[in-house]
Amino acid sequence: MPLARSIHTQTAITLIAFTVCALALPCAAQTAAPAAAALQNLDTALLAANCTTCHGPGGQPPAGSSGSIPALRGQGSAALLERMQAFKAGRVAGATVMPLLMQGYDAAQMQALAQWFAQPAKAKP
């Protein structure tokens, strides 16, 4: 089953790339093989799409929002990561849903999310 093998190999490569990317900071490993990058991008895009349900399309609140849920897009990755870690550790006074939500994401996922939202907005993020 050559197809199956090749897909599986891609998965393995991507997992390695993703792990390296997650541990090395700052992450410049976005230059992995195109197929691996595609998987990583789709995985991270899907993960980030968990956030946009509240934080708005592309991580930016829509017009008419009161600002009670902040923009994620355009914040620095270090600041985003620190904020997520603080929520997860219960260190944010006055927090509402985020301390619980962050229990559902591990260090590598938080790293990937921080980098994702730190990128400048695209035309169709």
Binding site: D43, L46, C54, G56, P57, P62, S66, T96, L100, L101
Partner: protein
């Protein structure tokens, strides 16, 4: 290594799976999505975003979709009708072909969907997000005709407007009775948010009135928070009768606006709101994806039907383990289905499914509460992430309740923009 074998099996199944995979190489796989609500419209939009080469057709009867979330706000006079409606121009701009028609039947062997207009749509993958249908007759005396007298208002639209007119016409000193079903049903905290906002309306406009909740359960979503909030906000205006207290209604006499409980108690109403037992929308049944429960079992990794190949089911219609039947959950499920199909139809490896849910409920203006959870797939099933599932704290200060009220409103704006573009 079972994981490895499973991946190989899935990959080879994809390779064997007929025309879609092959056609995808030629860049025009066809996905038909039934249902333009929180689940289906999300699939359509995100599929176009993540795999622009795929042709996406969305089938939805309504030209403007009325959301159940925030329909309780409308009911209590806190929001205009227009503000809970969304059109499909944003999806069209995103390249989705939108067809306003009813899906009537599915031919799984020929991969065809028949519409009430006579049109037949051909698909390589079919996505069903039809929401719920009422189980007419499951509650004795409660059928479609009865719902015109005692509205359910559990599908937003004319029923919601009918219930609001009845509430507005109710005399001060009248009695609003709500009948609440056992699990599972659409939007677990929904009846209790409705009770809160009806109570808010009554307190302001008809303070001598009474709200009676007859429940087929002893427990419900955010129960302690609702009970605490009702007591603080509305005193004894709201009375909740549990299953153990003979709250289960077994018969409805809609013309008389009267209900009867399991132990024979009769309750007369001035306004009677009956939320009946539910099941997956009818098209799911026609497609063969539902089981004896009336809901559609799905695989946690991609929400593929457990029963019919080539079909995915999401939102309220799906049996999604611990994930509640909420608009938020349907939106996150829509993204998982879109990512899974984008990968599969372009020969890429399957992405990792990850689901979040946050449901805000408003007990009064400036008083919000929430329930949260994060979920993932494991061996085909859906499980919650440790310590991620929980609710707002009891006895929280007013600032906390006010913050969640504001966030609830901002959530609605965000998810509406995320799905319909505004």
């Amino acid at each position: 290594m079972p994981h490895l074998q499973r991946r190989q099996l899935l990959a080879s199944a994809a390779a064997l799976a007929a025309p879609a995979f092959v056609r995808a190489q030629g860049a025009s796989a066809r996905v038909v999505v039934v249902g333009g609500g929180f689940g289906g419209a999300t699939v359509a939009r995100y599929l176009r975003r993540w795999a622009p080469q795929i042709q996406v057709t969305l089938v939805e009867p309504a030209e403007r979709f009325v959301t159940c979330p925030f329909s309780n706000h409308y009911l209590a006079g806190l929001r205009p009708w227009d503000s809970i409606q969304h059109g499909y121009d944003g999806l069209r701009s995103a390249g989705v072909q939108v067809v306003h028609a009813h899906a009537k039947d599915v031919d799984g062997a020929r991969r065809q969907l028949r519409l009430d207009t006579g049109q037949v749509l051909h698909w390589d993958r079919l996505v069903l997000s039809p929401g719920v249908d009422m189980r007419w007759g499951a509650l004795e005396g409660y059928d479609q005709a009865a719902a015109e007298l005692a509205p359910h208002a559990w599908k937003a639209g004319a029923q919601t407007q009918l219930l609001r007119r009845q509430l507005e016409a109710m005399p001060d000193g009248g009695r609003f009775v709500m009948v609440i079903p056992d699990n599972p049903f659409r939007c677990p905290p929904g009846p209790y948010e409705r009770a809160s906002l009806v109570a808010h309306y009554l307190k302001r406009h008809k303070p001598r009135s009474k709200l009676l909740l007859l429940d087929a359960k002893n427990n419900f979503s955010k129960k302690e928070l609702f009970l605490q909030g009702w007591k603080a906000l509305y005193g004894d205006l709201v009375e909740w009768i549990s299953l153990a207290q003979d709250g289960q209604v077994v018969r409805v006499d809609a013309p008389a606006l009267e209900v009867e409980t399991a132990f024979g108690a009769r309750h007369k109403a001035d306004v009677l709101n009956v939320i009946p037992p539910q099941k997956a929308g009818l098209i799911a049944e026609r497609a063969g994806v539902t089981d004896a429960s009336g809901w559609a079992p799905v695989r946690g990794e991609n929400l593929a039907s457990e029963r019919v190949p080539g079909m995915h089911v999401l939102g309220d219609a799906a049996l999604a383990g611990p994930i509640p039947k909420s608009g938020f959950a349907a939106n996150n499920q829509g993204k998982v289905v879109a990512a899974a199909l984008a990968a599969e139809l372009s020969g890429r490896p399957a992405p990792t499914a990850w689901y979040a849910n946050t449901c805000y409920s408003l007990l009064a203006p400036g008083y919000g509460i929430s329930v949260v959870g994060v979920y993932r797939a494991q061996d085909g099933r859906l499980i919650d992430l440790p310590h991620s599932v929980g609710v707002s704290p009891l006895d929280a200060p007013p600032a906390h309740r006010a913050a969640e009220a504001r966030q609830g409103a901002d959530w609605y704006a965000a998810i509406s923009a995320d799905i319909w573009g505004g």
